[in-house]
Amino acid sequence: MHIMEGYLPVAHAVGWTAVSAPIVAWGGMRLVRTVRAHPETKMLLAASGAFCFVLSALKIPSVTGSCSHPTGTGLGAVLFGPSVMTVLGSLVLLFQALLLAHGGLTTLGANVFSMAIVGPFVAWGVFRLGQAIGASAVVAVFMAAALADLSTYIVTSAQLAVAFPDPVSGFAGSFVKFATVFALTQVPLAIIEGLVTVVVFTILTNY
């Protein structure tokens, strides 16, 4: 679930784009440098990007029946690193907007911030933290993927709350509303994404 085309007021659309653009540009520059030095990585990056896109579009057994879906950014961040994921995640969002009419172009900046920046960095941070405190790889990967998924939806709720504060209870009330509808229903899905990611991670590191 992303913020739909036209849902954000102009100022917000521009604002979130301004926040996301430098971070994605930073990731993009690092990527371009890698690719210029090793042109063959282009193909592997494209294949990885396609993998992330398919992950995010895989219908995992849905509990809520909502339009929620996994983000796939947790696994991507653990496998490819967060700076690569900012770019691949942005491309995934662009593809979702253009191939699935899911999300949007004017809301791309906001969605990139929640899914391609916050999600991967949370995942990466949690994974590194887990390793640092000696948690098993399984636990670290589970937490990284589940929290990346959940944080994306919390940020989305916050973005919507900032844009549409409740006439009575302001940002806080609005955040509660959006979080209840969008983020809370995502909790079981986040757990499932965590579990699936553990299966994937275990297999990929074993074979």
Binding site: M1, M4, E5, G6, Y7, P9, V10, A13, G28, L31, V32, V35, K42, M43, L44, L45, A46, A47, S48, G49, A50, F51, F53, V54, A57, L58, K59, I60, P61, C67, L75, L79, L91, L94, F95, A97, L98, L99, L100, A101, L105, T106, L160, F164, D166, P167, V168, S169, G173, S174, V176, K177, F178, V181, L195, V196, V199, V200, I203, L204
Partner: protein, 259 residues
């Protein structure tokens, strides 16, 4: 699965009556409407934009109404849910929060929903008439570095291959009852994803050989068929944008309650 929706959108984008038109024409038309939907007051602009965008897709590009509605269904569901959330207010006093509805919140919900509807229709106009790769070709105008565009073009290709693999893989698992309960389904999904990545990376390596045999220099330069820009189409688009803006301005000035 999303694969069916993507397949439908991609197929329409590749085969609609406007698919051979210069991408810039349709980007101009759809992008202009999208911009107007954001900056003009939703009443009366949004209904006009919705009408114009839908007409362009259905009449101009000859997209079937059934397909159009099927694609619109998902955003409509989001809109309906969002409208309810916006229309209801949380009253945090008296201990437990209360839900109330006010004219203000209903007005916000209506405006936002209308505007988003117009914007989605404009987005669909672009999405359904311009093939993704034609759009990516235009990205260099936005000064996107060539390697990023090349990765995106390749990613599109791999995405189409990956979706096929995922759909068939899932079918194969379902044939062996891999989705009979939640536990097995989580296991099967994990297996499927874990199989997909090495297969895609393998595909990437073989593609590397495929490109090398064509004297690849490191860059992935290609040439698109030459298409000419139609000045008539472009001026039509601009005229449409201008008249929607003019009607909106006139409405806002003449109808006192609109202000």
């Amino acid at each position: 699965m999303a694969a069916a929706a993507m397949d439908l959108i991609d197929r329409i984008a590749q085969t609609n009556r406007w698919s051979r038109r210069h991408p810039a024409e349709k980007l101009m038309l759809g992008g202009g409407l999208l911009l107007l939907s954001l900056i003009l007051p939703a009443i009366p602009a949004a209904p006009l934009i919705l009408l114009a965008a839908a007409a362009a897709v259905l009449v101009g590009a000859r997209v079937s109404g059934r397909d159009y509605l099927a694609i619109l269904a998902a955003p409509l569901a989001f809109l309906a849910l969002g409208a309810v959330v916006l229309a209801v207010s949380v009253q945090p006093d008296a201990g437990a929060p209360w839900l109330t509805v006010s004219t203000d919140s209903i007005a916000t919900a209506a405006t936002v929903t209308l505007r988003a509807l117009a914007a989605v229709a404009s987005l669909l106009l672009i999405v359904l008439t311009v093939p993704l790769t034609a759009l990516l070709r235009q990205a260099h105008r936005l000064r996107v570095p060539a390697p990023i565009i090349e990765i995106a073009v390749m990613m599109y290709r791999f995405t189409m291959l990956a979706f096929g693999m995922a759909v068939r893989g899932r079918q194969a698992q379902a044939n062996r009852l891999g989705y009979r309960n939640l536990r097995r389904a989580i296991h099967s999904s994990g297996l499927l994803a874990a199989t997909l990545l090495p297969r895609l990376l393998d595909r990437g390596r073989r593609m590397e050989i495929g490109l090398a045999t064509r004297a690849c220099t490191g860059e992935l330069r290609t040439l698109a068929p030459a298409v000419t820009l139609s000045p008539a189409f472009l001026s039509g688009a601009v005229a449409l944008h201008a008249s929607i803006a003019a009607v909106t301005v006139a409405w806002v000035t003449l109808v006192p309650s609109a202000a």
